[in-house]
């Protein structure tokens, strides 16, 4: 049995924007869409949008919603989210914004603190039903 593996391109990437890392933003495999760890970027230009934990969370989840919808999925089809924070002291600030994005019932989730590259405060990755 060979399941299909399909690379999903970002919906609003500016023409000629090179991906920042040797990773696809999302890949469909089997029944699922696997989304890479997202950092806060301007979806038009692909440039970093550094800010507070709250503002980065908002930017990431706005981009994630757009990415999933362009792939025929949506935030209410997300099954699991992993959130990486530069400090666990910021977890409440992330959680408050996060709660505004995910409709009831929310997906399973794991949040942890980690050393993130390049001054990034939040990284969010997820698995959704295709």
């Amino acid at each position: 049995m060979t399941a299909k593996r399909e690379i999903l391109s970002p919906p609003a990437a500016a023409p000629g924007t090179a991906p920042a890392a040797p990773a696809s933003m999302a890949v469909r495999g089997g029944a699922f869409i696997f989304v890479s760890g997202l950092v806060a970027i301007d979806p038009q230009t692909g440039e970093r949008r550094p800010g507070t934990t709250a503002s980065e969370t908002r930017q990431i989840l706005t981009n994630l919603r757009q990415l999933l919808e362009a792939a025929g999925s949506s935030l209410d089809r997300v099954v699991k989210v992993n959130v990486l924070l530069h400090s666990m002291l910021e977890a409440p600030n992330m959680n408050e914004i996060y709660a505004r994005f995910f409709p009831e019932p929310p997906p399973a989730r794991t949040v942890c603190g980690a050393r993130l590259p390049d001054g990034v405060k939040v990284i969010i990755e997820c698995t959704a039903l295709a």
Binding site: G30, A31, S87, M88, P106, A108, R109, T110, V111, C112
Partner: protein, 129 residues
């Protein structure tokens, strides 16, 4: 199709106790995705701080409750991410971990991370439904 697995005991509802915007677990596509499992008293929701070993025992107990209630079990784990507070405790984790996944252990990655509330270990797992 995406089903929520409810907390089998009130203490395991971290949303109710700690305001985490998350479901205990989600069943989808033949798999069960669990939220990060923490050493929480499954009846009261109180934090059970201790050694890595004692915390891991509580976590595996909670994981067993959750998976059994969802019609799965510890024998059906597919993938585990084990977060520990310091990689110096890697062997300590293995000692307790082995007792719960004796036969055909699941795929696993272990790394050091900052875990909420100063806990020493957290398990992030996917099981076959």
């Amino acid at each position: 199709m995406r089903d929520v697995i409810a907390a089998p005991l009130a203490g395991l509802d971290l949303r109710q106790h700690y305001g985490h915007h998350q479901s205990p677990a989600i069943r989808a596509g033949g798999l069960i995705f669990c939220s990060g499992m923490l050493p929480i008293d499954p009846r009261t929701g109180e934090r059970c701080h201790g050694t890595l070993t004692s915390e891991a025992h509580v976590i595996f107990g909670n994981l067993k409750l959750l998976l059994d209630s969802a019609g799965s079990s510890l024998d059906r784990l597919v993938q585990v991410h084990a977060l520990i507070y310091d990689s110096i405790e890697y062997d300590v984790l293995n000692r307790v971990y082995r007792q719960y996944v004796a036969n055909g252990p699941p795929a696993r990655t272990v790394w050091a991370a900052q875990i909420e509330a100063g806990f020493k270990v957290e398990l992030d797992v996917i099981a076959a439904a």
